[in-house]
């Protein structure tokens, strides 16, 4: 089998193509090439037919622009909308827990402290314990719920499995932003009033943040979404190739 990807790239003067567009066009060329071989053409002639079928490169590149618009629309419809809806719902659930003091379900104190268990590790420095892992049960329960909601909504809208996976991880973006803000505060504000933080301490702190506020919540989101990640898309269909 000749390298049809190289054939396509050369035809488009190595212009950058989104991988999925390239995959689709190469798949088309492969089908065409196989059909010509099955019809009895030799490899060289079949390759020539495939090359002829590529058409005007400028027109083909215009298709790429249209494809990018579709990708953006899909991103909004299948990932951003379900993900943000789930984030909003989780925030609301958290506020209700806080407002109505339902946090006793998770432990003593208010929503933020109730059910939160913190373990410190790493060296003790003038800036405190370098590392920590915080397990925040209300947050993890809320994320189980958020993951389910995001993946379910995405599935109902017709999103594919990969899109459901990304949609359920959207609520994990907010903690990442908080971590970045926190790091910026450490670097820009505290460094002015305290001695600069050693890089080792900073790395311990960052890993603590990542485990507590990104990896654990993302795991809860994935567990919540799991029942909807394995299902086929509702409008899924088998290909007709006859």
């Amino acid at each position: 089998m000749p390298d049809l990807t190289a054939l396509l790239r050369t035809h488009l003067s190595h212009a950058s193509l989104p991988p999925s567009v390239e995959e689709e066009l190469v798949s088309h060329l492969t089908d065409l090439y196989d059909a010509e071989i099955a019809r009895g053409l030799d490899e060289e002639r079949a390759l020539e037919v495939a090359r002829d079928q590529l058409g005007d490169p400028a027109q083909l590149l215009r298709a790429v622009q249209q494809y990018k618009e579709i990708v953006m629309a899909s991103f909004r419809r299948y990932i951003l909308v379900p993900g943000l809806f789930a984030t909003a719902l989780t925030t609301l659930a958290g506020s209700i827990l806080d407002e109505y003091r339902l946090d006793h379900l998770f432990g003593a104190g208010n929503f933020l402290s109730g059910g939160r268990h913190v373990w410190f590790f790493g060296p003790l420095t003038p800036w405190g314990n370098a590392g920590f892992v915080s397990i925040d049960l209300p947050l993890l329960f809320a994320n189980l719920f958020a993951g389910s909601v995001a993946a379910y909504l995405c599935m109902r809208l017709g999103g594919e499995r990969r899109q459901r996976l990304w949609a359920c991880l959207v609520p994990a973006v907010a903690p990442i932003l908080v971590i970045l803000a926190n790091l910026a505060e450490l670097a820009l504000v505290r460094a002015r009033v305290q001695a600069p933080m050693p890089i080792g301490h900073l790395l311990w702190t960052v890993s603590g943040y990542l485990i507590s506020w990104t990896i654990l919540p993302a795991t809860a989101l994935l567990i919540g979404a799991a029942p909807f990640l394995t299902r086929r898309t509702e409008h899924s269909h088998s290909l007709s190739t006859s």
Binding site: E23, A73, E160, S240
Partner: protein, 111 residues
């Protein structure tokens, strides 16, 4: 846009909607079915097929889904959306009336 390109685009849209009316197909199969059904009168190369498919998908006439095909190769298959299905009837009627009008013109010039 010239009359010629409007005609080309309109006929190509009708051809794609018509073959997809029978069921979902991937790009190569769409081109093959159209060529086969029209006895080679209408053919698509990649540069004429995919801009159209992507535009129709963007306009929500079609929806596309990646499917696992044979030989561990993925294919993107297209199917009509309810909006695409709605376009088919008026497009067919439009083209039929256009052909009748052209036929009348041809008959008139032969007379």
């Amino acid at each position: 846009m010239s009359i010629d390109s409007n005609l080309k685009r309109g006929s190509a849209e009708l051809a794609i909607l018509s073959v997809l009316h029978a069921g979902p197909l991937h790009g190569y199969e769409i081109a093959r079915r159209i060529a086969q059904t029209t006895d080679g009168m209408l053919t698509f190369d990649l540069a004429s097929l995919y801009p159209l498919l992507y535009r129709m998908e963007r306009d929500k006439w079609l929806e596309a889904l990646w499917e696992d095909g044979p030989n561990q190769r993925r294919r993107r298959s297209y199917r009509l959306t309810p909006l695409g299905r709605k376009q088919l009837k008026p497009l067919r009627a439009h083209w039929q009336s256009l052909f009748i009008a052209i036929e009348k013109l041809a008959e008139g010039s032969n007379a």
